[in-house]
């Protein structure tokens, strides 16, 4: 009878060891998802804003008008930004 009891205890100990490793592995996989998700998703979902180069300082800009107000030719452009 005694040897059987020993066998049962060993099986129970083995089971806890397997559960422990499984839980640790699961936690590691979960942590990996969180880290990778943070790197890929989150704030980086928005594309970076492209900021164009500024125009030369010598080019007059007043309201909707670009260029010298006294220029002899007037170009009028109707534009839809989208």
């Amino acid at each position: 009878m005694a040897p059987k009891r020993i066998m049962r205890r060993r099986r129970a100990n083995t089971r806890w060891w397997v559960y422990g490793v499984g839980a640790a592995g699961g936690a590691a996989v979960l942590a990996l998802f969180v880290i990778v998700g943070g790197l890929i998703g989150g704030d980086s979902e928005d594309p970076p804003v492209v900021v164009p180069v500024a125009r030369p300082a010598g080019l007059a800009q007043e309201g909707h008008v670009l260029g010298s107000p006294s220029a002899p030719v007037t170009i009028t452009e109707y534009a839809d930004f989208q």
Partner: protein, 142 residues
């Protein structure tokens, strides 16, 4: 090189021509919102910087590239007074201005964009056509 940079270099920087831009909204709610945002940037003297950032970040018809959130990000990127910008955009105070521009454009026969006039005469928006029309409009000594 695109049309506008070439026109700028050849005619605007040399004082031969000036460009007046009328923002209009043909393509839906967000194009109207983008045009209003440009007017709000104009309150801070940054109309053309905002114009440029809009074109640099276009998403096309149906995209959300010009959502309120993205327009606000553009304001941040240009170092505008973002509170004033958000307040302006949120108030919708330029909605009627853009509607007026759009109606005026339609009355002038504009049914697509960009549509360009040189000294009041409609011309094609290609570099060659614009260059020819500008040169034609210059005084003889230019």
């Amino acid at each position: 090189m695109g049309v506008l940079p070439t026109i700028e270099e050849e005619f605007l920087l040399t004082g031969k021509a000036k460009l007046e831009l009328r923002p209009i909204a043909f393509l839906g709610e967000l194009s109207g919102l983008a045009a209003q945002a440009a007017e709000c940037a104009n309150e801070q003297g940054r109309f053309w910087r905002f114009h440029d950032i809009l074109y640099a970040n276009q998403g096309g018809k149906g995209s959300d590239a010009f959502s309120r959130e993205h327009l606000q990000r553009f304001a941040v990127a240009l170092d505008l007074d973002t509170d004033a910008f958000a307040s302006c955009l949120g108030s919708g105070r330029y909605a009627s201005t853009i509607a007026d521009y759009t109606n005026a454009a339609q009355q002038r026969g504009v049914d697509s964009t960009p549509t360009v006039f040189v000294n009041g005469k409609e011309v094609g928006a290609s570099l060659q056509e614009m260059r020819a029309a500008i040169q034609e409009g210059l005084p003889p000594e230019s």
